[in-house]
């Protein structure tokens, strides 16, 4: 075996580390460790001169293992790996000791902090000796894409991709395309007709030569991995197998049914309808009661189901704007009608909505605030001598008064919840859901349309309730991600994976169900397990579940970790 020649670099991070850690002493102690050829401390290791210093050492002293003690590897591991590559050394022959976030920033006692830093460096040095060169691997990408869901998000994504001449399979569980948006009459804040936007897209998608639309269909089975998926789609009796390289999930959401909130008397008293039902009414071009008369008093109750710990703990995000939109539509159609906004919080976010809010207020719409934490508004049938059929009892928060709102039509702004199918689909796709059953993105801030499963993207309201514009932009973002991958033609896959030593594997098959990604397959003829390293994400759970030691976890091998334990416990310095 080659002689191990380790270089150790202790970063001061200006004073960030140097203030609480005696970096010179750490370097001195590291220098005494077996295999360490050079140990230096430097002001900023991540800076160009810092990296150059390391690169120069590697080349001049032909170092073959590097340890940097600095900030968290989550910040600069990549940086230093690149530096190793630059020096012609495999980037995985590198280990970091986190002496900033986990030492200098959290300990004041300089002596103890220094001691701890020395231990962590020793651990890294012991570990790096056992680290092996790993090579990046990539797979070809199938240029076809599967889009699940034919709402505005799915349609947009499908169109974007198809327009570049790539194949798209669009799977919609309903009998027609359009999704929630089809149910919407006009969009806020400008009250444009939704169909004006939606229909041309549906038109283009349905007739596009590169898009195959599957209606009344569902994805029931998925195998393969990023770039090379195979999916089974059920449509009515028939089934078809499709091959594609990426998946865009755009399954949207569904409106909340207000029946459980008995205080709103939905379906119990006449002329109490949901926001969705009201949209349909508007699409028919009129506003009327069961009696076909026009209402004189219209009350709009907000947050029905939303922001309610017993139902939908979250904000459904579009209801407030829609309620304002309704007020305007009512005023347009029935200028004499009295409109009441019974709200908990006005959240008129998104471009142009705040303006819509003040505009609406100016049109004589009355805003009444109720206490969501306290007693919710209660709808009762009006008595004989009252002028309307319905009365809403509520405590008005701003005035602090108990008031009764008279209404002949009540619109319940129902919240939006995840599809029932979200669980089943999440299992098929191997993506996870949040506590509210919406799909979880890979990173809430920095990677909002990707998921932890490579090649699977989530767009629109299946990730959380959204307005049309957000859904569209997510769809285009995902499309761009997919197209980028298709054009690159290959995709890099995880290097830190598990692998099986077939000469040791006894074929007990304990590992098979341990893998959360189904990356482990038992080869019957060979009587051994085999890890599909493209699917494997490198969690290493199988390595710790393997009773024979046949499964190894690259870059986190038993030898490496045990050596690190030995290192951090090694008493170098008696305090």
């Amino acid at each position: 075996m080659e002689e191990i020649r380790i270089g150790v670099y202790i970063c001061w991070c200006g004073t960030n580390i140097a203030k609480n850690v005696d970096v010179e002493r750490v370097a001195a102690e590291a220098g005494k460790l077996q295999g360490v050829v050079v140990a230096r401390d430097y002001k900023y290791m991540c800076s160009d001169p810092g990296q150059d210093l390391m690169v120069k050492d590697i080349q001049e002293m032909n170092l073959n293992r590097i340890v940097v003690a600095a900030c968290s590897p989550r910040i600069h591991e990549i940086t230093f790996r690149k530096a190793l590559e630059k020096a012609g050394l495999n980037p995985y022959l590198f280990q970091m000791a986190n002496i900033r976030e986990q030492v200098s920033w959290v300990h004041d006692d300089r002596e103890k902090a220094t001691q701890k830093a020395i231990d962590l460096v020793t651990g890294a040095v012991k570990r790096v000796r056992w680290q092996e060169a790993l090579n990046k691997r990539s797979v070809k990408v199938n240029p076809a894409t599967l889009v699940i869901g034919g709402g505005i998000a799915g349609l947009t994504a499908a169109r974007e991709i198809a327009r570049t001449g790539r194949i798209v399979f669009l799977v919609e569980k309903e009998k027609s395309l359009g999704g929630m948006m089809k149910k919407i009459n006009r969009t806020f804040p400008n009250l444009d007709e939704a169909s004006k936007y939606l229909n041309p897209i549906i038109e283009e998608v349905s007739s596009h030569p590169h898009i195959q639309v599957y209606l009344n269909s569902q994805l029931v089975k998925l195998s393969g991995y990023v770039g090379n998926f195979i999916g089974t789609v059920n449509h009515k009796e028939t089934q078809s197998e499709l091959e594609f390289g990426n998946i865009i999930v755009a399954t949207g959401l569904k409106p909340f049914k207000p029946t459980p909130l008995s205080n709103y008397a939905y379906k119990r008293l006449p002329n109490i309808i949901t926001s969705v039902e009201f949209e349909e009414m508007l699409s028919k071009g009129y506003i009327r009661l069961d009696s076909r008369q026009e209402p004189k008093h219209v009350a709009i109750i907000h947050c029905v189901g939303s922001r309610n710990p017993d139902f939908l703990p979250y904000c459904s995000r579009t209801c407030c704007q829609t309620a304002l939109k309704f007020a305007n539509q009512i005023k347009d159609l029935l200028p004499k009608a009295h409109v009441y906004q019974i709200y908990a919080d006005m959240r008129s976010m998104s471009k142009g909505c705040e303006e819509m809010y003040s505009k609406t207020a100016k049109r004589g719409v009355m805003f009444l605030m109720y206490d969501q934490k306290g007693k919710l508004p209660y709808i009762r049938e009006a008595g004989k001598n009252e002028k309307t059929r319905l009365v809403i009892e509520m405590k008005e928060l701003l005035s602090g008064e108990q008031v009764e709102v008279t209404a002949d039509l009540v619109i319940l702004m129902v919240g939006m919840e995840a599809q029932e199918t979200s669980k089943q689909l999440s299992q098929v796709l191997g993506i996870s859901r949040c506590s509210n059953n919406f799909y979880i993105e890979k990173h809430p801030k920095l990677d909002p349309v990707a998921t932890t499963t490579d090649g699977v993207f989530i767009v629109g309201s299946c990730q959380a309730p959204k307005e049309i514009s957000d859904s569209a932009s997510q769809a285009k973002a995902a499309a761009a991600r997919v197209l980028a991958m298709i054009n690159k033609d290959w995709v890099e896959v995880e290097v830190i994976t598990s692998s099986v030593r077939e000469e040791i594997c006894c074929g007990c098959q304990i590992c098979v169900h341990v893998c959360p990604y189904g990356a482990i397959e038992f080869l019957k003829e060979k009587k051994v397990s085999c890890v599909n390293e493209v699917i494997c994400k490198g969690c290493g759970t199988c390595a710790s579940a393997c009773p024979t030691g046949a499964i190894g976890s690259r870059h986190f091998t038993e030898k490496q970790i045990l050596a690190q334990i030995e290192g951090v416990m090694l008493q170098l310095l008696e305090v």
Partner: protein
């Protein structure tokens, strides 16, 4: 001089380790007794690691993973939990105080909780006193 425990802590990369980093970026102070070792997932943690830590003289061993349901790899933390329960039973049978090992869930946003955990565990170990395991293993009589 006062007994300063050495606790080997195994942290998963995605939640716990990031949580520990957050404690740092938020400049929270906690006991210097921990020696953190990073693994990708708490599901990687094998009994061997824990036994080895004690053999090398650790006064305690801390294992941290993502909260149930939040595992970056879906279920690794559950697998860790299952093993841990068995390890606890074994440790007891071997005459080691069960309080010397601890499993805790720390999310990426729980820097404060991590700092508190570190202090708490350090206190527990201080109350137990230094581990004699290494010494006992080294003497063959």
């Amino acid at each position: 001089m006062e007994f300063e425990p050495k606790i080997v802590a195994f942290l998963c990369n995605w939640c716990s380790y990031t949580g520990a980093d957050l404690a740092g970026t938020s400049r929270m102070k906690y006991s210097p007794s921990l020696r953190i070792i990073r693994v990708m997932c708490s599901g990687r943690i094998c009994p061997t690691f824990i036994f080895k830590a004690f053999q090398e003289g650790a006064d305690g061993v801390l294992v941290c993973g993502c909260h149930p349901g939040d595992c970056h790899y879906n279920e690794g933390n559950y697998k860790c939990l299952r093993r841990f329960k068995l390890i606890e039973k074994y440790i007891r049978q071997m005459g080691i105080e069960p309080d010397r090992i601890r499993l805790a869930w720390i999310s990426a946003s729980e820097g404060k909780l991590f700092a508190e955990l570190a202090n708490e565990m350090t206190q527990t170990i201080k109350n137990l006193g230094p581990s004699t395991i290494k010494a006992q293993l080294e003497q063959m009589v």
